[in-house]
């Protein structure tokens, strides 16, 4: 690394940034600095936004996501390192081996702070090591260490052993055995939290990188340190209010019973939207029966994590998405089995949503005689656990299921694609599209695939502002707004569980950015930034072969309706979805093939990607 050059870049960078990314070769351990000009930082902020820019710049067109030359970016943000609550987050961005498109996932805590304080706004891993390795980065630069003794361990065990080996001050993000075996929905984990979606762990595994360890070397300057502290105090106070009560007191699992009551709890591979056994899996009942420990990320005052005692006495982080995917979606009602399944996914390092979705699809296939797995049935807890183990080891049926439901369905055929619960290859989260039709659009058009973090349009569906069963222009507006908000929050980065405390979010977020960076960021500028980030991902996907046909939902949702106890039918006809997508394209400034016009790209500065 050319130290003089990097120091020079850091000196001229705006507050909140270092103005440089480290592009580290996993083959040699050497770093090549990549300048991040102020115009780029202001246009893409950090996190998923800057990650999209980096992918445009560093990912060769058409690259195999598991090839050595495919980059894997750990991206920080201007807020990380400040005392602002929930800001200790980082994004991991790559071309997804599951979708073949851009994927970005967030994780939290000390890795974010230490990673940024290495003096880089992003760490991009390129190439592949010739043997299992650990990548280290601190004030002394980057280097590789042998990871033979860590290979095969869970991410948590890897963190523990490597932490002991390296000593204090090091923070580690690691993959589990599933990442090593390139399960296409393997995760990258730090401190029990996962950059979960899209198979980022497989990308890291393909590079023979078991873990990346970072140690802080320098502080992050802010433009107005006193103002940041005052803003942090105010935000802390708000974070203790009613808008976050659900997360603090019961965690996200509080969704389960409520979603069941409103016919929105995906059950048995989306054949149903209510689950008779939902109370047995609910936060309300589980927390009354057993001791639950609350936990939070570094720099977070909400503390949403609820850790339940697992079968072997180890704590299991329980989230709504785990329990929906491994519980109701697979028809499994035994809470002990769902906790065990969740723990095994964590140990192996696989995304619970994609695991549950793929297994639920396989259960339906097995019951319908489409695959030869008589042991695999909805509701069978032991079958769920066996399937997870086989996926993690790629043995038996696991070799097929490790590919995700889209690839598996393409292989099995016989109509099974119609009920593979995925969009663009990414399995659906726990939000039923037929009864949440703004969310249905969000799931269909999002760049990452079926996703509830880059589109939270379910919020509008559940606000009462429109009829959630009859999608139309109001639903489109809600989906666009939701994507824009997520784009900014995921780039600044702030946890979305904080979103309810902002009254005029873009204005308030602009103020926070100003305190850290010194930029006078208006509400209007930040909304334009949101548009730019959303469309930059779309452009990347187009470069990688995306077409309008990819903005769609599985056939099941369009041809099968749900009967509600209210007497109404929840249906999402294909024509309605098509109309919503048409309107979405218009609102986003896209043509009817989903491509931004030249004028729109120029306005947003996206034309730099066309050269």
């Amino acid at each position: 690394m050319k130290t003089v050059e990097v120091d020079q870049l850091r000196r001229v960078a705006p507050p909140g940034y270092f103005g440089v990314a480290a592009v580290v070769s996993a083959a040699s351990g050497e770093t090549v600095p990549l300048e991040l000009e102020e115009r780029v930082l202001r246009a893409y902020l950090g996190g998923v936004g800057l990650g999209a820019w980096l992918l445009h710049r560093l990912s060769p067109a058409g690259v195999d996501p598991l090839a050595p030359e495919a980059p894997l970016a750990f991206v920080f943000s201007p807020l990380v390192g400040t005392p602002l609550t929930t800001s200790a987050k980082f994004a991991v961005v790559a071309k997804s081996p599951l979708t073949g498109l851009l994927t970005d996932a967030l994780a939290s805590s000390h890795f974010a702070i230490a990673g940024k304080r290495t003096g880089f706004d992003a760490i991009v891993i390129s190439d592949a090591a010739d043997r299992p390795s650990v990548l280290l980065l601190d004030g002394d630069g980057s280097r590789l260490e042998d990871a033979e003794t860590l290979w095969g361990l869970s991410a948590a065990e890897t963190e523990a052993r490597l932490g002991d080996r390296l000593g204090s001050g090091w923070y580690i993000a690691a993959i589990g055995p599933a990442g090593e075996r390139q399960v296409r929905y393997a995760t990258i984990s730090h401190d029990g939290r996962h950059a979960g979606r899209g198979g980022l762990g497989a990308v890291m595994g393909a590079k023979n990188v078991k873990a990346i360890a970072v140690r802080a070397a320098m502080k992050v300057p802010s433009a107005d340190p006193r103002g940041v502290v005052e803003a942090a105090r105010a935000l802390n106070k708000l974070s203790f209010g009613p808008a976050t009560a659900k997360y603090r007191e019961l965690g996200t699992l509080a969704n389960l019973l409520a979603f069941n009551a409103i016919n929105s709890l995906p059950t048995r591979n989306f054949k149903e939207a209510t689950f008779d056994a939902a109370p047995q899996l609910s936060a309300e009942e589980l927390s009354a029966m057993t001791s639950v420990v609350r936990h939070g990320c570094a720099s977070c005052t909400i503390g949403c994590e609820h850790i339940y005692p697992g079968p072997d006495g180890k704590g299991v982080r329980v989230e709504y998405e785990n329990v929906f995917a491994l519980g109701s979606l697979c028809g499994v009602s035994r809470s002990d089995a769902v906790l065990e399944a969740s723990a095994r996914c964590d140990e192996l390092g696989i995304d619970t949503i994609s695991a549950g979705g793929t297994i639920a699809w396989a259960m339906e296939c097995a019951e319908g005689g489409l695959i030869d797995a008589p042991w695999l049935r909805f509701g069978e807890a032991e079958a769920l656990l066996r399937a997870i183990d086989e996926i993690g080891s790629r043995r038996g049926l696991g070799a097929l299921l490790a590919e995700g439901s889209r690839r598996a369905a393409a292989q099995v055929g016989r109509g099974s694609q119609a009920f593979a619960p995925q969009v663009k290859g990414l399995e659906l989260p726990g939000y039923e599209p037929r009864t949440l039709q703004a969310m249905a659009l969000g799931l269909a058009v999002n760049a990452r695939g079926a996703d509830h973090n880059r589109s939270g349009a379910y919020e509008a569906d559940l606000s009462g502002s429109h009829d959630r069963l009859t999608g139309g222009p109001a639903h489109v507006a809600a989906a666009v707004e939701s994507e824009n908000r997520a784009a900014v929050m995921d780039s600044m980065i702030l946890c979305k569980f904080l979103r309810g405390v902002f009254v005029r979010p873009f204005e308030e977020w602009g103020r926070l950015l100003q305190l850290v960076t010194g930029w006078d960021v208006s509400e209007g500028e930040l909304k334009t930034t949101a548009e730019r980030i959303v469309l930059s991902k779309r452009l990347f996907n187009q470069r990688e072969g995306w077409t309008r046909a990819d903005d769609w939902l599985p056939e099941r949702f369009l041809s099968e309706s749900l009967e509600l106890e209210s007497g109404r039918t929840a249906a999402l006809p294909a024509e309605r979805l098509r109309e919503m997508i048409d309107v979405y394209y218009v609102v986003r400034g896209l043509d009817q093939e989903g491509t931004p016009s030249q004028g729109r790209m120029s306005e947003l500065g996206l034309d730099e990607f066309l050269s």
Partner: protein, 265 residues
């Protein structure tokens, strides 16, 4: 009555808000409120559309003509209701609307010895025919029936619907209020019995979360179950529509689910 029925207080809401809300729960299309010249209306949700009947003295047929015309091209069948039926139940509306098939233009309930043309279902395309009757000064609803295919839906057939039989066995859906004493008697009746479910942080540890209360509106149900209806809380009616409007009408047999407005997972 001596006062506008639309504005009459009903459990913290108004008659028009209540009746429009109940009809809206039972149909797929929009709710149209036909306003007489200079008529004052209560606060209504945005999803209600108000159209004006500019001409005076045409009776209910005038209102029906304006309402059906407003629905042209958007719905096939309309449920027509007067404003003064606070005990109307969505199951009754659904039962009546379901009766209009390809062979029928109008379905009129026959309850308590009378035809109920203002608790009836009409094919929307009748608008032009109704207008012709008005132009000919033939203002009685019965004149319309003479000119179209209609059926009489008697009490036995209405009550063959299990939902109506369970929730409105006395067919109070057609009980209208013509005199102040009618209003006072109706207002003195106990509010409907509804089930309230509370989820998440709204439920105390160890509590079942389910109670039965009497309430005619969402606001009353919230109050009766000690659930603060703040901006962070929403309610689902029978697992379907979501609301945080305290004036949202509730009816016998409803299940009201209160939950956190933030559904992030």
């Amino acid at each position: 009555m001596g006062t506008s029925k639309a504005l009459l207080e009903w459990h913290g809401s108004t008659l028009l808000r209540r009746v429009g809300g109940i009809v809206g729960r039972a149909v797929d299309g929009p709710v149209i409120c036909v306003r007489a010249p200079r008529q004052e209306l209560p606060r209504l949700p945005q999803r209600f559309e108000v159209v004006d009947d500019e001409e005076v003295g045409r009776g209910p047929l005038g209102g029906i003509a304006v309402g059906l015309a407003a629905l042209a091209g958007r719905s096939e069948v309309a449920y027509v209701s007067s404003t003064d039926v606070p005990m109307l139940h969505p199951a009754f509306v659904r039962r009546v609307v379901a009766e209009v098939n390809d062979d029928l233009d109008v379905c009129v309930p026959y309850v308590r010895g009378f035809r109920q043309p203002l608790a009836a279902a009409y094919r929307v395309e009748l608008a032009a025919r109704v207008q012709k009757l008005l132009d000919a000064d033939r203002l009685r609803p019965s004149f319309l029936l003479e000119e179209c295919r209609w059926s009489k839906l008697d009490e036995r057939r209405i009550l063959s619907d299990p939902d109506v039989a369970r929730c409105d066995p006395g067919l109070d859906s057609v009980t209208n209020l013509n005199e102040p004493s009618d209003y006072e008697a109706a207002r003195a009746r106990p509010a409907p019995e509804v089930v309230v479910e509370r989820f998440g942080v709204l439920r105390s540890p160890g509590e079942s979360g389910t109670t039965r209360v009497r309430a005619a509106t969402l606001g009353e149900a919230a109050q009766a179950s000690a659930t603060p209806l703040t901006e962070d809380i929403v309610a689902a009616l029978n697992g379907d529509q979501i609301s945080k409007d305290p004036e949202e009408p509730v009816v016998e047999g409803d299940v009201i689910s209160f939950m956190s407005a933030d559904a992030g997972g």
